[in-house]
């Protein structure tokens, strides 16, 4: 776990896996969860449903700052892209920012899944118990 400090928004953030110091960027656990939530939500992936989906699946409250911090980082890496939707009345006329997982993001998720499989390889079911 290292501390990433740069000039960007919400720049004081942690990344798991030490990706920046290595040749290849490794997705952290939370980043994987965010990418998977975006994939699950499809075209309706914006801040609120992403946060609710993650809170439900992770079983703990997730803050707005944590979500946008991760999204900002993933967007900088080219794993997700975002666009502004139309203003909606129930949000006081403020627009939603929708997110979509791009091809590098999908590849990073596949790599993370493969890495997890490799780590578990050879262990019988229930070996962790």
């Amino acid at each position: 776990m290292d501390l990433e400090i740069d000039a960007g928004f919400l720049s004081c953030s942690r990344t798991n896996g030490g990706g920046y110091g290595m040749g290849r960027y490794t997705l952290g656990e939370f980043e994987q969860a965010v990418l998977l939530a975006i994939l699950r939500l499809g075209s309706s992936a914006y801040g609120v449903p992403i946060r609710h989906d993650l809170s439900e699946r992770l079983g703990r409250p997730v803050s707005v700052g944590a979500i946008y911090s991760a999204l900002e980082r993933l967007e900088r890496k080219g794993f997700v892209s975002s666009w502004t939707g139309g203003a909606t009345a129930e949000r006081g006329g403020r627009a939603k920012r929708f997110y979509r997982v791009e091809a590098p993001g999908v590849r990073a998720l596949e790599a993370a899944r493969a890495a997890t499989r490799m780590l578990w390889a050879g262990l019988p079911e229930g070996a962790s118990a």
């Binding site: 914006y46 803050s63 707005v64 700052g65 944590a66 946008y68 129930e90 949000r91």
Partner: protein
């Protein structure tokens, strides 16, 4: 005033027999609620409102919105403010305004800490406190 709308002056809401489809803040004094068709699915946050007719407690305090320009870049400001307003409305309707206010301040504090870092905030608070007590 068309049949498909409700006007809500101050804190008192008035409602037709149909379901609420949308909520628009028109001015500081007045809210307009657009009514949908009968088969429109009423948003969860507004179900309680439809019963009580009281809308004022669902509005996010303006101070929360005024703080955001100091915390967020322009690109994300509207999106985050909208998300906070949407969740505030939902929590206020479900759990009450005090809970929603507590949640909102907690989120704003979290955004501040992520933006400036804990050290800068602790230093600033410490300096303010030292000035306050004249130490």
């Amino acid at each position: 005033v068309t049949k498909s709308r409700i006007f809500v002056p101050g804190q008192n809401g008035y409602r037709y027999n149909k379901q609420i489809a949308d909520l628009v803040k028109e001015s500081k004094q007045r809210w307009i609620i657009d009514l949908g068709s009968d088969d429109y699915d009423l948003p969860g946050a507004l179900r309680n409102v439809a019963k009580t007719g009281d809308l004022a407690h669902l509005i996010m305090p303006e101070i929360g919105q005024k703080l955001l320009p100091f915390i967020l870049p322009k690109k994300l400001r509207a999106a985050v403010a909208g998300d906070l307003a949407e969740d505030f409305q939902s929590y206020a309707a479900q759990w009450g305004r005090p809970y929603a206010l507590g949640w909102l301040w907690w989120e704003l504090a979290g955004l501040c800490i992520r933006r400036f870092g804990p050290t800068a905030i602790i230093t600033a608070v410490g300096m303010w406190f030292r000035q306050k007590i004249g130490w």
